[in-house]
């Protein structure tokens, strides 16, 4: 194994372990729930890093996969609420208020927990694969992909709001049961949910890392760099892109399911344009070409948003401060925080895994310039 890979695996392991140890030091249920929420958003950022940072697909509709996962989980948990909160024969309360008599057919399978967990991943993956089929087979690239994904997100969001009888409309699906699997109950404010989420983040990080370290991951990065050249080596670029897009959607679906568990509801805002664009900012701040960087970016930015908006001093100015930080990062740190850490570690430990000094072919200033160009 290369030394660089070993260092990377070690870093990922240590950070994930640190996340898993948090409940040992924090016993305030409210704070733990808040941290769990940040970690879920970290998973969502990992998903975008895989498609944007590694494959060059700027998916502005990442929240669609997230929201669909979230609704799948909410549907399962809604059907498990105690009969007091529901209508006749376990009909969800909002359906009773909307004069629905029988459970719609697409709600039926969600009586099964296993189906719900499966659907939370499969529905986003299937939708992404279908959208990807048209977009990438049609060789749509660049900013048009961003526009199409954003438009699709808005369509799905409006459909969910419009079908209030079946989806709860603007209110979403509220008043849910707690998740119970294998005799374990996951209370949103207990450490069990936190552990579940930290474990899921660990899994998603290492899974995504495995994808990027495989030969397919290398081809994806080559596609990001020069899509047309890749074709002439015999790789079917469209299928590679559909693959990355779908895997990313699956990870976002997992994040969505977990979000329902910590928030205890599902809402159309989970498929909102605002959330979807925030993910892009988290990735940019943390470093989109680093999975761990993106996750930490999400956790740091949302954590800071939480801290600033809760403190009285910054009550009116916190959005301004956040905006200023984004501008500074985008202007001066094109690789995000991960780029800063990488630069520092290269200085301390020497470069990567080659024992020889790197031949200085091009002055540093040129390298920095090409970085800025690639961002444009």
């Amino acid at each position: 194994m290369k030394r660089g890979t070993a260092i990377q695996l070690g870093t990922y392991g240590i950070v994930c372990l640190a996340f898993l140890l948090v409940p040992s030091f924090v016993d305030d249920a409210f704070i733990l729930n808040k941290y769990a929420r940040y970690l879920v958003l970290g998973i969502l950022a990992v998903a975008l890093s895989l498609s944007w940072g590694y494959t060059g697909i700027l998916n502005l509709g990442q929240a669609m996969s997230f929201g669909l996962g979230s609704y799948c989980m909410a549907m399962v948990l809604k059907l498990r609420t105690v009969p007091v909160h529901t209508g006749k024969a376990g009909l969800p309360d909002f359906m009773v208020w909307n004069n629905v008599d029988t459970l719609p057919w697409f709600w039926e399978p969600f009586h099964s927990m296993a189906f719900g967990l499966f659907a939370g991943i499969a529905v986003p993956v299937a939708l992404a694969a279908l959208l990807g089929w048209f977009v990438f087979r049609g060789r749509v690239t660049g900013v048009y992909v961003a526009i199409i994904t954003l438009a699709t997100l808005v369509v799905v969001n409006l459909m969910i709001i419009d079908q209030q009888r079946f989806t709860g409309g603007f209110n979403g699906i509220t008043d849910l049961a707690q998740l119970e699997i294998f005799g374990l109950t996951f209370d949103a404010y207990g450490s069990s949910s936190y552990y579940l989420i930290a474990a899921a983040l660990t899994f998603c990080l290492f899974f995504a890392l495995a994808v990027t370290k495989s030969k397919a991951g290398l081809v994806l990065q080559a596609i990001r760099d020069n899509e047309n050249r890749v074709r002439y080596f015999g790789y079917d670029v469209a299928f590679f892109k559909i693959f990355a897009f779908s895997v990313s959607a699956g990870i976002a679906g997992i994040a969505g399911m977990l979000y329902t568990i910590v928030m205890e509801f599902a809402s159309p805002t989970f498929l909102g344009v605002q959330l979807s664009l925030s993910v892009v900012i988290w990735c940019a701040v943390g470093g989109r070409q680093s999975l761990l960087g993106a996750a930490l970016g999400a956790i740091i930015v949302t954590g800071m948003q939480g801290a600033l908006s809760e403190s009285e001093t910054f009550l009116k100015t916190w959005t301004l401060i956040m905006g200023f930080i984004f501008v500074v990062v985008v202007l001066f740190l094109p690789k995000g925080l991960a780029g800063v850490v990488e630069g520092l570690s290269n200085r301390v430990f020497g470069h990567g895994d080659s024992s020889k000094p790197e031949p200085n072919i091009v002055p540093d200033s040129l390298g920095a310039k090409s970085e800025a160009e690639s961002l444009r």
């Binding site: 290369k2 495995a210 994808v211 370290k213 495989s214 030969k215 397919a216 290398l218 081809v219 990065q221 080559a222 990001r224 760099d225 020069n226 047309n228 050249r229 890749v230 074709r231 002439y232 080596f233 015999g234 790789y235 079917d236 670029v237 299928f239 590679f240 693959f243 470069h351 990567g352 895994d353 080659s354 020889k356 790197e358 031949p359 072919i361 091009v362 390298g367 090409s370 690639s374």
Partner: protein, 254 residues
């Protein structure tokens, strides 16, 4: 496997029209296996477009292309590449963010499916072979640096190494010596003569010295058509070629 001398690639009456402009106008070309064919001609003669049609970048308006007995003009780019055709473009196009070694790994594309590659982690096994290749092109010191940091000449070499790593039956080269020094051009000629042992090559080139050094058979294109075909001597004596391309001074002064 077809025997040496058998027709490997056949273009029959190929027409490419861009909004009425006939970039290639009824081109018929036959290339045998193991041949090193040079295509020369004045600017706008349709040389690059001809290569584009072979590798699938540009669709045909009329005509057909067969490679090893199979029609390839209706295939997509990646299918043509899988059939055994590799291409070097005029503008160097390597993966600038990937290291030299990673570039070579991507080029080694015998296995090109998504899932086959998703479960492929044993990437170190190919390392020795790729290191040898890097040594051959003089980039063994640069394996771990991003290709975007290479000089222009090094980038050209890397591109050629990518084709060697890809190991296609037929290699299409578009102006491989553009921007190279005399020594580099000479080294490129050596490389081509080595490549010729295992591959069929089609080279579009302007540098007549280089063409003289490597070429078996030269095809001259003019206004989208094949003007003449033959050895260096035959072409040099051809009256029409002299008037449209080489000038009255002959092949030596071009």
């Amino acid at each position: 496997m077809s025997k040496n001398g058998q027709e490997h690639l056949v273009l029959t009456g190929v027409v490419v029209s861009f909004n009425g402009f006939q970039a290639v106008d009824g081109l018929t070309l036959k290339v045998s296996k193991g041949e090193l064919r040079c295509i020369i001609g004045p600017n706008g003669a349709g040389k690059t477009t001809a290569l584009d049609t072979i590798c699938g970048k540009t669709g045909l308006t009329a005509g057909s292309i067969t490679f090893m007995g199979k029609r390839i003009d209706n295939l997509e780019e990646h299918q043509i590449a899988r059939a055994g055709i590799g291409r070097k473009f005029q503008v160097p196009s390597v993966f600038r963010d990937l290291t030299v070694h990673e570039n070579l790994e991507v080029a080694r594309s015998k296995r090109s499916g998504v899932l086959a590659n998703a479960f492929c982690f044993e990437r170190d096994s190919e390392r020795e072979e790729l290191e040898k290749l890097a040594e051959f092109i003089g980039l063994q010191e640069c394996l771990e640096i991003p290709a975007g940091h290479l000089s222009h000449g090094q980038t050209q070499w890397l591109e050629m190494a990518l084709l060697v790593a890809q190991d296609p039956e037929l290699i299409l080269m578009d102006e491989p010596t553009a921007g190279m020094t005399v020594q580099e051009t000479h080294k490129t000629a050596e490389l081509f003569i080595r490549l010729k042992e295992k591959h069929t090559l089609i080279v579009v080139e302007h540098d007549m010295g280089f063409v003289k050094e490597i070429g078996d058979v030269i095809s001259v294109m003019h206004q989208g058509k094949l003007l003449a075909e033959g050895t260096v001597e035959q072409i040099a004596e051809h009256p029409e070629v002299r008037s449209v391309y080489l000038g009255t001074g002959g092949i030596g002064s071009a």
